[in-house]
């Protein structure tokens, strides 16, 4: 728990106690699950809101560039792609609730693209659309394969020299704008679902907190959502690192990096790790860290262990060898490979805690069928 969070918790506690003392009644304090539901909403709402705002700016910047193309304009659009991608990386950590309803995550990002499908499918879609009178519309793009939509397609259009060379500027521009509009529309849908209101997801989350009677045999459903979400995200983060590093190949597989065309893979990873920590700590509110620490002394030590593990990962991510370099270039540099291996070890350590000790301590059944089915 951060110092600021401790202070806030104390203030909140003092405030509530005063109210109770003054009123003379003793209202039941909110359950830890309910507090988790509320802090999770407080973390998720701005993440999805940032996604909407970023995509709006991305679209506006693309429209300006397309009406008067210039090198400076292109750099601006590329920068907006980068910012929006970081917003998506942060929001994607909340991989439960609205984002699962329509397999939405795939509509934002197709990854990993081991067979360079994005290149092939975007080009094929551009050929198809160029020959059709209707071209592309935000409605028609919804029917196109997820491979030729989302951040991957936009990155190809904006950063790949072959796309710049092969696709005429007006066509590239038209398709890019529709791809951004599609993401913008989906982000708005997600953001709306995360707003407060009847039948919106925060209410569902609160209902989940109350759904199971707090008996010894029950399991905490909001905690389960969070642990499962953190575990899945960290597993993906590990793949984002281990695939380009390669298992035994000392030269690595640079083109397995997540955003190899733009060179922003490490920034993506920084955003994901920071966002998992924020979700784990409940932002400025009551987090899983406090929930865990309240179980028993061993769990309190476990919460400390996670905090230390995060600090170590943050330190590596901010270290000099990983400054101003893309993952694609870092994996072919012997010295940096060592740093990346330490980073991989650090993230794996956190992931393993969320896969084993944390669910054990909180009494959460995790991945019974998904991890070991038949």
């Amino acid at each position: 728990m951060t110092g600021r969070k401790s202070l806030l918790s104390q203030c909140l506690c003092l405030g509530l106690c005063s109210v109770f003392l003054l009123s003379g009644c003793q209202p039941k304090p909110p359950s830890s699950e309910l507090q988790l539901a509320e802090s999770t909403t407080a973390v998720a709402q701005p993440l999805y809101n940032d996604l909407v705002v970023g995509l709006k700016e991305f679209h506006s910047s693309a429209s300006s560039f397309c009406s008067a193309p210039s090198a400076g304009g292109l750099a601006g659009v590329q920068q907006q792609w980068h910012q929006s991608m970081l917003n998506w990386q942060s929001a994607s950590v909340v991989n439960f609730g609205p984002v699962t309803m329509d397999s939405m995550a795939w509509k934002f990002q197709f990854w990993p693209d081991k067979k360079n499908l994005i290149h092939r499918k975007v080009e094929s879609e551009i050929r198809r659309g160029s020959q059709s009178e209707a071209g592309w519309t935000p409605a028609s793009i919804g029917k196109v394969s997820v491979v030729s939509r989302g951040f991957g397609a936009a990155e190809y259009l904006l950063f790949d020299p072959e796309a710049k060379e092969k696709i005429a500027e007006p066509v590239r521009c038209e398709y890019l704008q529709v791809v951004i509009q599609d993401m913008q529309r989906n982000a708005e849908r997600l953001s709306r679902w995360w707003q407060q209101g009847e039948d919106r997801y925060p209410e569902e989350l609160k209902a989940l907190a109350d759904a199971v009677p707090a008996t010894e045999e029950s399991y905490p459903q909001v905690s389960a959502l969070l642990v499962s979400s953190l575990h899945t995200t960290l597993e993906t983060a590990i793949r984002k690192l281990s695939m380009p590093l390669g298992k035994t190949d000392q030269h690595g597989n640079p083109y397995m990096s997540e955003s190899w065309r733009s060179g922003y893979s490490l920034d993506n990873l920084r955003a994901v790790i920071a966002s998992t920590r924020k979700l784990y700590e409940g932002g400025e509110g009551y987090g899983l860290d406090e929930r865990l620490a309240s179980v028993d002394e061993e769990s309190r030590q476990l919460a400390e262990e996670i905090s230390i593990a995060y600090d170590e990962v943050d330190k590596i991510l901010a270290s000099k060898p990983l400054e101003n370099i893309s993952l694609k270039d870092a994996v072919v540099d012997p010295e940096r490979r060592e740093v990346l291996s330490s980073l991989l070890f650090g993230i794996s350590r956190i992931k393993n805690l969320f896969a084993g000790k944390v669910p054990d301590k909180l009494g959460i059944p995790l991945g019974f069928n998904s991890n070991d089915g038949d």
């Binding site: 029917k143 394969s145 997820v146 991945g367 998904s370 038949d374």
Partner: protein, 371 residues
Amino acid sequence: MSLSVVTRRQFISGLLISGAAGAGGSLLSGCGRTANTPLLSVARNRKGDYSIRIFSGEVFQQFTLPIPARAHGISLHPLGQTAVCHDRRPGRRMYVVDLETRSLIHTLSAEDNRHFFGHGVFSPDGDWLYTTENNYESGHGVIGVYNTVTWKREAELSSHGVGCHQLCLHPDGKTLVVANGGILTHPETPRKKLNLDTMFPSLSYVDRQTGELLEEQRFGHHQLSIRHLDVSPDGTVVFGAQYQGEKTDIHPLVGMHRRGESVQAMNGSDEHWLSLGQYVASVACFPDNQTAVITSPRGNIVQFWDLASRSLLRRFPVRDVAGIAVTGVNSAIVSNGLGELISYQRVGDDVSETSRIHYPDTSWDNHMISA
């Protein structure tokens, strides 16, 4: 054996709903599938103990039969009084359960050099039980034939493939429909897949009396392991595959077949297939001949498919979802590793969730049936 009461409030509410006079009175008392049809599944509790559970999807009651290890599929005798629970691979036990007395009446062991693959099916008269097994000396899939009076293994048929997993009885009563997953395994390295580059899955139609291969079908890519299936009353076979290649390779994972026709993939979009995480855990067909349900615990998703148009009707996110029990002409319950049981009903071209209950300290395993 014990009756586990979930909570006092839930238990009482269960009794009220069922109208049962005494504990357990509502289970196994009816004929045919009703809203309160008893269900069977294997489950694990938090301590890591496994059991066969006989339980309700509507009211909170269950009977627990402890077993020593994780098991897999359950086969129901046509008369509904006996069920057999099969070890999962490379297990070597089968448990015969008397559903009237709710007790384990036999534990059978696999033959030498054989282990079970996790599924079985009874003959229409219930005299014979057919089980999928591995001849791990030769690597071939075999079907064990058990006499259900003596519970002796009396014969063995070829599955006509490697790694046979689930099998069902065709409505003609004579033909076994077998999902040969194509994956070679050996009990010395139990969960290791030994032939991913050369695997060759198939859907086989086998005469249950002669063992003759009547028809064989393939489904797309050689790494699409056909694992689970169900058969509609009209003979339509719906199957689910588990793809052994890359996470983002795009292949249909659900297909259907009718005897004498070619296999057809469902009309899913790239995103429908990607969202399954390359893994289908269970398949069930509704008695209406129009609907199939599949679950994917890796994709945390349940999909409902319309068989006439082969199109997706609805999908629902459910974490760690696996088992499916058909409970009516157009309804089913799905189970998950978090102890939930969720009921769905198809009306017209829509499917909706109708109820949801939770069994604490329970992880429901891969398969579930209604008795």
